[in-house]
Symmetry: C2
Subunit: 408 residues, 2 copies
């Protein structure tokens, strides 16, 4: 892997290229000057570590999430691709391009597609997860992994109100790309798809234009498409105790390859914003159990004050989802707002791409969602239209690769 | 319109609300502290002026573009809406919410949907355009405007290779929302759609995640999804002479209501990036006539050096599109990359949402596009799948409204 930053990539390789170039003068390019003075290292999130980045990491502004189907039966090819992906992910998150960039003498495609050249790392993180169908599909043990499937990696049950589109659900592998610059996130997913050609195929993908939860409670809480602050009581990325209790899988929880990993549940939640926008402020606030402006719970004064649950409407979202009403159950949320144009009726196809990380979905997401799906006042204004669950392995140690313990 | 910034909106109105509130303590919210210290004024682009903002304005990072159909026959209602839109646009671009915000006593919906609360103006610009069908549709003079239709507002001809989706083409009115924060752009379009309920309906909309052309040639040139720098020779937003010559319609050009306005052509250009990504660097560079790294034209050394057209392949994009080969014809480009998930074949639905402003499309876009559609090597890798043309009136003077000269 090259150690060059993206800023210099084609500049460097241009010299190599010119030596055998066929189109005469003008093909040699010089190193890019790049008027952007931010240093790559300043804004790079370390790729290697005990846990994957992109979970406890302070939530970046933008998302490109992709679900892949594995299209080969060849275990060795899959492993080879995961190794290539790991090298590429380490490069991209460090602000570097993938591979030798210019493709030697110009007769080969460039290894890197190039649209992130000149852009800083933008705090890019790439987080991989393995779905139930990677371990077993249609009764078949595709890659000799069936015995390693964690019990916590369940097939999610049907929840009341679900209207899931298979074309936006599931996937053998997922990659969550988060960055402060969407071009950097899109570039990473595109290049992983390219590297994986013949091994994986993109099943679906989702862009998120604005984060709706943060893991930095000291900063301004972001707002969702209902205009409300979201994730006020989210798990802080710096709260090691809460992360160990609620987010990181422990060795005793299941298979050892997942120790230090986490389970990702994603839900594409369409928001009927035209309907919402015509309801009264009172109704909107009653739905949440919080005010729209400050975000304080009913009966509390400030956003971060303790929530007196009995002061909130019984069917309000916050009352139903609050840890105090659920035996202390918490999940780490990392969702994003999306807008995918309009539907056939002139309504914005908009909503929340919900992402939650947890130690065991059976005891966390499923418990909460069963309750919300049954009783949440908010169900009048939302519909779950996509869904997925993936086991995200622990972080990669230097020299290792994504999922190495699973495939060893 | 309130003079409050978005940061204080619901804080302020909370007090009003509490007076008549029905749900007891906790409903009063206090002014938001907002840990973001950027001043609203610092990043606001002035709304009023001789020309609409969002054309010569330095290109912002993100786009939400919406095309609307007018669903009423009532001219007075349409004018009323345009006045409301103008007030809202002035508020949003200034970093303010729309209207009285909290809806009085909580029994009414809030005037503003709220998801941009706490966010700075992010250099938001809102630019309106009127399509041919506003002036005449199915032979009908819908709003008494037929006689005012500019000759330059043509129905675009069919170009070779066009594969236009009617559901992504046309529209009686368009609004281009550009901002450095997509949440601010999406908020603006959503609220305009909401204000226009019963008068207009969103026909289609397009998010752009990264600009592909700049109007600031002194800064780093952005790259498109082919990984190439785009818009190296674009018209600079500060080049008053070039703007007068190529972008702003003059009084003598056509109807007086368009003096100081400009004609917008948008094209949704799907890029077959999986195919592109498998072609050699040489082929990619031959397609453009420029190098990928530095972006210098063949036969030139640096990106901004003069382009020796005879050194470029005859079918290269730059050679065909260059002003020197087209009698000096130039257009101001403001396009954005898009990625709208995947198509049914697992390919990224990605490309360029091309936006160009010009003084007369008959002499500019149509001339260039006829040439490109016939001969551009790049046609192997792209397809035009959406299209629209609109007449963007001049800027709004204080006290005026969008299109006031057209409707007077």
């Amino acid at each position: 892997m090259t150690g060059l930053s993206r800023r210099r990539l084609f500049g460097y390789s241009g010299a190599t290229l010119a030596a055998g170039a066929a189109v005469g003068a003008g093909l040699v390019s010089v190193a890019q000057a790049g008027e952007d003075h931010r240093s790559a290292d300043e804004e790079a999130v370390p790729f290697h570590g005990a846990h994957q980045a992109g979970i406890a990491t302070p939530v970046q502004d933008r998302l490109h999430f992709a679900a892949f189907d594995v299209v080969t039966d060849d275990r060795a090819r899959l492993i080879r691709m995961l190794k290539e992906w790991t090298a590429a992910a380490a490069a991209f998150t460090g602000g570097h391009p993938y591979g030798s960039a210019a493709g030697g003498l110009g007769e080969a495609p460039p290894d890197d597609t190039g649209e992130a050249l000149g852009l800083p790392p933008a705090r890019l993180t790439l987080t991989i997860g393995f779905g139930p169908t990677l371990f077993e599909k249609d009764g078949k043990d595709r890659f000799g992994l069936r015995a390693k499937r964690p019990a916590a990696l369940i097939d999610l049950p049907h929840f009341p109100g679900d209207n899931l589109d298979p074309a936006r659900s599931g996937g053998d592998i997922c990659v969550q790309a988060c960055a402060d610059d969407p071009q950097v996130a899109v570039h990473a997913i595109r290049n992983l798809a390219r590297i994986g050609f013949g091994v994986v195929s993109v099943r679906w993908s989702q862009l998120g234009f604005g984060k709706t939860s943060s893991t930095t409670p000291d900063r301004q809480t972001p707002r969702n498409m209902f205009g409300f602050k979201d994730g006020t009581r989210n798990i802080a990325g710096t709260d090691a105790k809460a992360l160990d209790q609620h987010v990181w899988a422990a060795g005793a929880d299941g298979p050892s390859w997942m120790a230090g990993g986490s389970y990702l549940v994603a839900r594409r939640i369409r928001m009927h914003i035209e309907t919402w926008d015509r309801t009264s402020l009172q109704e909107q606030q009653d739905t949440f159990g919080r005010t729209k402006g400050e975000g304080n719970a009913y009966g509390a004064k400030r956003e971060h004050d303790p929530v007196p649950l009995d002061k909130l409407p019984a069917d309000s979202h916050v009352r139903l989802a609050h840890p105090d009403g659920n035996g202390g159950v918490r999940i780490l949320r990392r969702g994003y707002s999306f807008t995918d144009g309009t539907d056939g009726l002139g309504r914005l196809d908009a909503g929340l791409f919900f992402i939650a990380y947890q130690r065991d979905p059976r005891k966390q997401f499923v418990v909460l969602q069963n309750k919300l799906a049954a009783s949440d006042h908010m169900n009048e204004y939302i519909q779950h239209v996509g869904s997925g669950i993936w086991a995200c392995p622990p972080g990669v140690r230097k020299g290792g690769f994504w999922g190495d313990a699973l495939f060893s």
